[in-house]
């Protein structure tokens, strides 16, 4: 009897153990599959150009004063009067591969007379009115040399290639800075109030209820709200400010609760000794309590950054999806796509899974670094206590 019982117990135990291992393996496997998928599709697309270029190709007309040189470099791929090495790219246009130090392309001017520096990889698509598609380098060289002989100024149409995520990286950074500039002070002071000042009572209950509600509202509702209030009613249009304001509400619960935890962890004795030495409550809070809670606050900020980087539904309807570096806070030129919203836009409009995954790789690496950072801070500064 006893032995039988034991056997069934061993079987049950084994089953239990197997289940535990299976479930954990499954959880980790999903991560491996997701990361694997994203990296396999996305890694091939990642290179220096992808990380540093503008998203959109940019065309400019420039005027170049040709140099009449006696350069004897007879290679067709070198245009002496421009001081530039060129080659035909896949589309049949003329791409600049190397610029000499004194190349006239470096101090060319756009149609308004403002300086425009041609850079390596720029593509010359038209010379005067001649399209350069499939023009031979020999013809091209001849045209330039003839013009140079006469001391002419040539008008070129230059296209700077796009395909990079620089505008999204910069926009993401702007939105992070803006949102935190709004949400961090409010959140930290709120936490200070909740832990150091508020007495048990109605106000405290209401505030805590509100914070919990905020934490539970899905981001699409924040998006709706932001679009209605900031974009439409306050006439900010799709802009980084509208996006940042929406996000700062969304971030408040994270910042407040993480900071509160940190404040609560500070031993009472710190405050008592400070007050006992004659410091006011305010002095105590700013000189003793807050500095000691700094690691916690930093973690709150890092968590918020992670949230901003990953947010899409709340941003699409408030900050828009244009891949540009915003040049103002509100209005026409302030609309900006973050990495995540651009990723979605790419899937939706272009069906371009490869580029979307390349952006996803960047995001995942970023999130991973943020995770490591917050761990490092927690470990480094809380062990002391």
């Amino acid at each position: 009897m006893k032995i039988e019982n034991n056997q069934s117990r061993i079987i049950k135990d084994t089953i239990g153990k197997i289940l535990l291992y299976l479930a954990s393996a499954l959880s980790v496997m999903t991560l491996v599959v997701i990361i694997g998928f994203v990296f396999v599709k996305g890694l091939p697309g990642i290179n220096i150009d992808f990380l540093t270029r503008q998203w959109q190709a940019k065309t400019t007309f420039i005027n170049v004063e040709l140099k009449n040189t006696e350069d004897t470099n007879l290679s067709d791929s070198y245009i002496a009067s421009l001081g530039a090495h060129v080659e035909q790219n896949e589309d049949g246009y003329i791409a600049v591969t190397k610029l000499e130090k004194d190349s006239v392309l470096k101090d060319s001017k756009n149609l308004k007379g403002a300086a425009y520096e041609v850079k390596v990889d720029d593509v010359i698509t038209k010379v005067l009115a001649t399209d350069t598609k499939n023009i031979t380098l020999e013809e091209l060289n001849k045209q330039f040399n003839d013009a140079a002989m006469n001391g002419e100024t040539l008008k070129l149409k230059v296209t700077r290639p796009g395909g990079g995520i620089k505008p999204m990286v910069v926009s993401t950074l702007y939105i992070i800075l803006l949102s935190l500039a709004i949400a961090a002070p409010i959140g930290i002071l709120s936490a200070l109030f909740l832990t150091e000042y508020a007495k048990r009572g109605k106000i405290l209950v209401v505030i805590q209820f509100a914070i919990q509600m905020l934490a539970g509202i899905p981001s699409i509702i924040y998006g709706l709200f932001g679009m209605l209030v900031f974009v439409q009613m306050l006439k900010m249009q799709y802009s980084i400010l509208a996006g940042a304001l929406t996000l700062s509400i969304l971030l408040l619960p994270t910042i407040i609760s993480t900071t509160s935890e940190a404040l609560k962890a500070i031993p009472k004795g710190y405050r008592e000794s400070s007050l006992g030495l004659g410091a006011t409550k305010l002095q105590t809070n700013f000189k003793i309590v807050l500095p000691n809670a700094l690691p916690g606050i930093l973690v709150a900020i890092i968590l918020s950054i992670g949230r901003i980087v990953g947010e899409s539904a709340a941003l699409i309807w408030t900050a828009g999806t244009i891949a540009q570096i915003p040049s103002s806070l509100t209005g026409n030129t302030a609309s900006a796509a973050t990495l995540t919203t651009k990723l979605y836009q790419l899937l939706k409009e272009e069906g371009d899974v490869a580029s979307a995954c390349s952006i996803a790789v960047v995001i995942i690496v970023l999130i991973w670094v943020l995770n490591l950072l917050s761990k490092w801070i927690t470990r480094r500064f809380t062990v002391k206590n």
Binding site: K17, S27, V28, I35, G223, I364
Partner: protein, 292 residues
């Protein structure tokens, strides 16, 4: 002395104002969403609220706005994700908290944290690239976009929430519980499942409810894989669904007038669900608080 006191008071009020911003935000969100969302049901030319809540067809061009099938879609998807996700998440949490050696924990935990930080659009891309083709192969229906696909992705998305919260609940159970159980001759598994897990019940429950909140509010990932049909209550896991969140997000950019108000009305329905979930969480945590 007096000036210091006044200054202290002023600062305190300032802090209070900061703290009240959360309250103001909640009130403002509720006020705006509800006022805009309830508008089509009042006044002249009002749309019947019953038609809205019980309708199974969404076709703005023909002035048809029924959200019942979306509610069904949201509820089924959430329920499915919870049914699959909670057992897996709980078992993983038990593994991390009670069984696994430290070296393995050091691998699994960062993995779970990373999983928590991945943006939902990436889950959506993953669903499109991996889950849809698989479902398309095994489904009796000709397309992969389905309730099942939504459940799969939502399950993965709520796992981190459930695992981390359950794990901390399990770790909070006093050692004396398991020591007593082991001392009485129970095996390790018996101890875990019969004494530690029940003791962490309320923590696990609130993890589940938070999981529900996350699943029902998820938008972007779901939109890419749900199929988003314009009507029809899903009758099997292979059917297309159109959860409430998707309806809002998909048409928000275009909508105007009545159509836009109806999207806000969809938001109101979603909001009511979320409030229900939130209040449940608060109840559970308060009860747990009282017990201690």
């Amino acid at each position: 002395m007096k000036t210091t006191k006044i200054r202290e008071k002023i600062i305190e009020t300032l802090f209070l104002i900061c703290a009240l911003i959360s309250v103001i935000s909640v009130v403002a969100i509720i006020a705006f969403v509800f006022s805009k969302g309830l508008k089509p049901f009042f006044g002249e030319n009002a749309y019947s609220f019953t038609d809205f809540i019980t309708g199974v067809h969404w076709n703005p061009e023909n002035n048809q706005y029924g959200v019942f099938y979306m509610i069904a879609g949201s509820v089924f998807a959430t329920a499915g994700a919870i049914l699959v996700g909670v057992p897996i998440g709980l078992l993983t949490a038990v593994f991390i908290a009670e069984v696994a050696p430290k070296s393995i924990v050091n691998i699994i935990k960062p993995a779970i944290e990373l999983l928590a930080g991945i943006p939902s659009v990436i889950y959506g891309a993953f669903g499109m690239g991996i889950i849809l083709p698989i479902i398309q192969k095994i489904s009796p229906q000709p397309q992969g976009q389905s309730l099942l696909a939504v459940i799969c992705v939502l399950t993965i998305m709520i796992l981190p929430t459930i695992i981390t919260l359950s794990e901390s609940a399990l770790r909070a159970v006093p050692n004396s519980y398991s020591e007593a159980s082991l001392g009485l001759g129970a095996s390790k598994m018996q101890t875990i499942f019969c004494s530690v897990v029940p003791a962490a019940k309320s923590g696990i429950l609130s993890a589940t409810v938070l999981g529900i909140g996350r699943a029902i509010g998820e938008t972007m990932a779901v939109m890419m894989i749900a199929g988003n049909a314009i009507g029809g209550i899903p009758t099997s896991i292979w059917d297309k669904v159109r959860p409430l969140t998707v309806n809002i997000s998909m048409e928000m950019g275009y909508a105007s007038g009545r159509h836009q108000e109806m999207l806000f009305a969809t938001g109101v329905v979603l909001f009511v669900f979320i409030m229900f979930v939130n209040i449940t969480v608060m109840r559970i945590t308060r009860k747990a608080g009282e017990k201690n």
